[in-house]
Amino acid sequence: MAQSFVFSKADFDSFFRVLQSLGEVSAPIRVSDQSFAFKQINDPREIAWDALRTILPPKKFFYPPKETLLTYKDGQIEESVSDNKFQVIFGVHPCDLHGLGIMDTIFEAGPADTHYLQKRNHSLIVGLSCMPDKFCFCQSMGTSCATRGYDLFLTDLDDDFFLQVETPAGSAVLPQLPMLRPAEDADKERYKDYWLRREKAFTNGFAPDNLRATMDMEWNNSLWDDLGKRCLSCGNCTPVCPTCYCFDLVDIASLSDDEGSRVREWDSCQFVGFAQVAGDYNFRPSPVDRLKFWYRHKLHGFDDAFASRTCVGCGRCTVSCPAGIDDLVQVVKTLQGQKEGKE
């Protein structure tokens, strides 16, 4: 049975110092009135406890936006190996933990992506409970409780934190945490009470039962054309998505002969060149083709390694879309035929 503990919030500083002794700690900090970002921090007071969604999800720590895969010089090809620095990612909410779990599945699938896994294996993820705002719909996506992707998980019990240990890496830290006391029955009651309250706090969402079938049936719904007309093809919905993993591979030539590197960069299916083949034939020439494609990956799922819908209900696309067309909940409701939907 998974172990659980409780510690007082007054002891959080010493808890944080222990995390710091493991490696670089990153946590959500505030970057504007409305936005947060995961950044490396040295002081627990920098943590934005009210952060729900950061601009970029924590995938960036293991799958950096730009990463050298290979270098070559004088006919010798060398793979680029990341420095094995240990990273602690603190304050990851259940949606993002599910997101990491999906990324793990994609990159673990054979042939495994060593660049991702190396960094992932040198990390400790500390999850954190959260109360939903009006954009959160993880409840509808079945991702509102963390089941994977983390080593330790903290639930906020007013004056205390409830600590769950999920992995051997997580339990390896325990001896260094003298502030912990085993969770008692009363603590467990408080814990369950928190999650029940949270379950009832959701104001956004939809009934997900027929989602996959709906996405199939409504492939030719006129809603897509309405959304496509507004789509800027700016690609904002993809870097902010915890489960968008598409990339471009680029050669960086060097001025000297026979030397250079091969780099991967985050790409977006929303860009016009994404599905273009040699000879300029484009399989998704217009914004609506690309938008539908993205929605299908998120809400219906593809035959990739994860093989299921990849949306985790974090609401990042909804708040990041300048055109306001990534309100997934409204789109689903409209496709499902619920009358209060927009358009």
Partner: protein
């Protein structure tokens, strides 16, 4: 092949009507290039220039008068690769944008009087007059892109240039979106990246100085800015101010035509 026995590839760096911003970037990076090239012509930076054939000609500025055009044709005829560098050369920049708004003869008359002897052409990018092999936009150009394009061309390879939108770089910088959070008229979604999302990173709106990204959705952009309360004429002027060509605005459902012509 013995390296010493071969001559270094030749480059020329030439300027038409522009601000010399690209020339400065190239000059700044010349030390990195010098081990690999001979600079046959760079009138901005050296006094001894020759007119001989070159492997790569980097041309900055737009074609704005007959002299520019003559010079450009000469450059084209002597170069193996012609690279348009900077927004002026690639899109026509502000001088091109101005020509889209009012007649060049009217502008000439307003500034120099109606009896002026100055010869001018409607300001256009290089590719309107000659074949351009590589278009490297920027205002000014990005050093890394410039070096990597040069590296490719020196090996006779076409470089990989994508022109993805500024939004991508902006998101990767984890900037709060100024279009969404501050309702600023940011053109990031339709502008080519490469600047590192400089303006939005400073909390300002992108004004499109790198020119359009690949397949810019001008109609959607105009609609969204208009919805945010911006005047349709201002929206279109903003979108066109750095030389975005007219064909990107055809088939627009956004109602602006009568208003801009009024």
């Amino acid at each position: 092949m013995n390296k010493e026995s071969t001559l270094l590839p030749c480059i020329a760096v030439e300027s038409l009507t522009g601000c010399a911003g690209e020339l400065l970037v190239i000059l700044e990076n010349l030390d990195k290039l010098l081990p690999f090239v001979r600079v046959a012509s760079f009138p901005f930076a050296q006094t001894a220039n020759d007119d001989g054939p070159v492997d790569i000609a980097f041309v900055e500025g737009s074609v704005s008068n007959p002299h520019d055009l003559e010079k450009l044709k000469k450059i084209r005829s002597k170069s193996r690769w012609l690279v348009a560098v900077g927004n002026c050369a690639v899109w026509g920049c502000v001088q091109g944008g101005a020509c889209a708004k009012c007649k060049v003869s009217d502008m000439l008359a307003a500034v120099y009087g109606s009896d002026s002897q100055i010869e001018v052409l409607e300001s256009k990018p290089l590719s309107d007059h000659v074949a351009v092999d590589v278009k490297l936009s920027g205002c000014p150009i990005n050093t890394t892109q410039f070096l990597s394009v040069t590296a490719s061309l020196l090996k006779d390879h076409l470089p990989y240039i994508t022109h993805k939108p500024v939004c991508l770089e902006c998101k990767l910088n984890e900037n709060p979106c100024v279009l969404i959070e501050k309702n600023l008229p940011c053109l990031g979604p339709v502008t080519a990246a490469g600047c590192g999302a400089l303006c939005p990173s400073m909390g300002a709106a992108c004004y499109g100085c790198w020119g359009p990204c690949q397949d810019p959705q001008m109609d959607a952009m105009a609609t969204i800015l208009h919805e945010k309360g911006y005047d349709p004429i201002d929206v279109i002027n903003r979108l066109k101010s750095f030389g975005a060509p007219d064909h990107l605005f055809q088939r627009m459902s956004f109602q602006y035509n009568q208003e801009t012509q009024a």
